[in-house]
């Protein structure tokens, strides 16, 4: 199989911008956005191995409340996939060989998408595609040539810098799948078509600084790193107090945490006539209006970044 690199990472564009880079370097040298010591460790008490069941039925989807039917009940992870979970998976998946680590990036097979030749559409043919890049400073996983391990302190944080291919492969390795956009949104909003419930966020219609991890939300991780901060442990906003920082309990109506903020979440839909994959939920790096449940983000499927993660869905009864 061929190895396609559909998309260059962000860093590959920079050589063309020498002047900009110099200026940026000059400005960036004013201060640092790295942890000076160990990152704070917080036990949220939320078990990332837990799943929530979401019933079948209608729900109001999107900003304009389009009534959408979910045919079958399904389950979704109540938290984002953590670094610990993804490291465990990689150690098993590389041994079992669906994921290959002969070269960097780590790749896996993908059967390809139908290509329509639509303007701006890119071909995604059958082949190996990147899942993650080892040694990427945005990632929280370390690889010593034999095993993957989590950088200390990030065990219960959401895994980031994983491509759509890598997220999909994780879910499918265990017999699960990425949620569709509709499944994701229903899990975030709850059953609202006839209830008059027009909530914009998983917990209601207003957002407080201590309810989700978003840009300039002043969580403990922003104290050192600035407004963009860092990922927060999964399920962080559950009403607990951490080192004097009181959070609000912010689950969705079905009990899912981090359905707003922390990291964008890949969804599984592959739409005709485009190669983009869609993300939901907003992240630590964007203002709160991006956390509204209907907000969409998209990227090419081999994009990876420090604010992009995922969670899985599965049919009811499937373990």
């Amino acid at each position: 199989m061929k190895h396609h690199t559909v998309i260059a990472s962000e860093a590959k564009q920079s050589p063309r911008w020498i002047i900009f880079s110099l200026v940026a370097l000059l400005l960036a040298s004013c201060s640092s956005a790295q942890w000076s010591g160990a990152i704070p460790r917080y036990d949220t008490g939320i078990d990332p191995e837990t799943w929530a069941q979401i019933p079948a039925g209608d729900f109001a989807m999107g900003q304009h409340d389009v009534i959408t039917k979910i045919e079958k009940p399904y389950e979704m992870m109540i938290t984002l996939v953590t670094n610990a979970q993804y490291a465990r998976y990689l150690n098993k998946a590389t041994a079992d060989a669906p994921v290959k680590i002969a070269n960097n990036p780590i790749v896996g097979a993908y059967p390809g998408d139908k290509f329509s030749g639509k303007r701006h559409e890119k071909k995604i043919e059958a082949g190996d595609y990147p899942h993650l890049v080892t040694g990427n400073p945005d990632g929280r996983l370390a690889y010593d040539g034999k095993f993957f391990a989590v950088k200390p302190g990030y065990e219960n944080h959401p895994v980031v810098a994983i491509t759509w291919f890598g997220a999909k492969a994780y879910c499918e390795f265990y017999g699960w799948r990425l949620p569709s956009e509709a499944e994701w949104e229903k899990a975030a909003r709850g059953p609202s078509p006839n209830s008059g419930d027009k909530r914009a966020y998983p917990w209601g219609n207003e957002i407080a600084l201590n309810q989700a991890n978003f840009y300039a939300s002043r969580d403990p991780f922003e104290k050192e790193l600035g407004a963009q901060g860092d990922t927060t442990p999964v399920g962080f906003y559950n009403g607990k107090t951490y080192d004097g920082y009181k959070t609000l309990d912010a689950p969705s109506p079905y009990g899912l945490y981090d359905m707003a903020g922390n990291v964008w979440q890949w969804t599984g839909d592959v739409y005709p006539q485009q190669h983009y994959r869609y993300m939901r939920g907003g992240s630590k790096g964007v203002y709160e209006y991006n956390l509204r449940v209907w907000t969409r983000n998209s990227a090419e499927p081999d994009f990876y970044g420090p604010s992009t993660g995922f969670r899985c869905a599965r049919d009811v009864g499937k373990k």
Binding site: F20, S21, Q63, H64, H120, N205, M279
Partner: protein
Amino acid sequence: MLTKRFNFLFTSTKGLVLVAIALISLETAIWGMLSGPMAELGIRDIVVRATGMILQPVEREGRIVMLYHSIAMAVIAIEVYIITAILPMKRDAQTTINSTITVGYITAQICGMVFAYFGRNWIFHGLFLFGQSLIFFAGIKLAFALNPWNKDYAISDPAYSRTKSGMNLERAAFFTMAIATLGSALFGAIPGSYSGNGFETFLAEDVIREPHKDALQLAVIGHLHIMLTLIAVALALIVGRWLDFKGKLHQVAMPMMIGGTIIITLGVWLVVPFEEIAHNFIYVGSVFILLSALFLVIFGFDQLIRERLAEQKIAKANFVQKLGALLHDPLKFGALWQMVYMNFVVTFIGIFMAIRLDKIIRVWPQREERVTLTGHWHILAAICATIILLYYADLIGLKGKARQWFGWLIIIPADIAFGAVAFFSTKRLYISESAQQPLVDTLMLISDAGLATVLVTLALLLVWRLVDLFKAKGKWSQELEEASR
């Protein structure tokens, strides 16, 4: 005495422009506190509580659309006031156009904001539409008044661009712009009337990657682009008249401006049925308009240097003397310079984005692309605003040190801010997300400081004019007297 002040503010060109600038400034000052760093600092929450604003998350896009419109209407009104003052037309035409648009934009601006931010009372939405309708009606009257085929406005001076029959091609360019604006307003009003009822609004930057945009979405995207373009075209023509643009460059520039305006407008309208080829029209029209503006800048710079050197009685000037002469009047130089600078922070970036769209821009997440788009047009709109302010300062006869201070305090901080915003909006080209925070903080600080300086400078001017209004024989009374002559 109140009647006299009312007459000054609402019948004289200088008064009308002052009122519109003041209203835009007030709106910008209040609503500017609802986003960005002001929101981060908690100022937004204070403003919302103090004013009783109701900010439902689901209505955000609708609110923003109305905010943009309410500011744009006032800007268009300012341009209309200036056009009716600088182009020959019947006095009653000028009076009816100005009075109609004044009632229109103030109604649209105030009622639009009350509807969008204070509880969605539909009576105010109706008044917002009524106000916009009045503006449209004033536009029709303006187009009639500008009719370039009217023999009364034929010209014989060969220094100005004209046809063999004497038609004034500069007037024709204004007329073309007015007709194009009316058509493009309808082009936006149709989808607006369908999806702008507060329930199905969207921002263009949120649908850019949709492979299938419906006709109404395409019309909205086209509308916002062409309206801003036409505001800029009108402004370039106004600056041309201000500097008495004439000669060979004028003779070339005016037909190009007319052709460019027609081509780009048709190109944008064609986006709905023929999206693929429409962009070719837009590119050609843009080149014509940009070249026309370039000719104005060349003429203007040359004229500024010549006139100043003549004042100084310098027959053979060296480079430094010429540069000094060019920079002598920051208001006139600034208006032209902003057109040049626009290319660095708007046009060239826009061309780069278009050329490298699939290779670079669309490799990024859509939210990153969105930042580049919003930064792009915010800068263009703000540059237009600075040119208007420089023009206004000249209009009211700012002289001496006040002229120098005002001019440079608008140009330099604004351009520093625009440069910082341009860097910010394209930051992903040269810095990764995880490393960006120090750069973002620095750029935000620079842009905020620059914009704050511009706003404080403008505020000082407005306070001076406000204080002047309380004087029995203030500047306002002279200006009213001049207007009634």
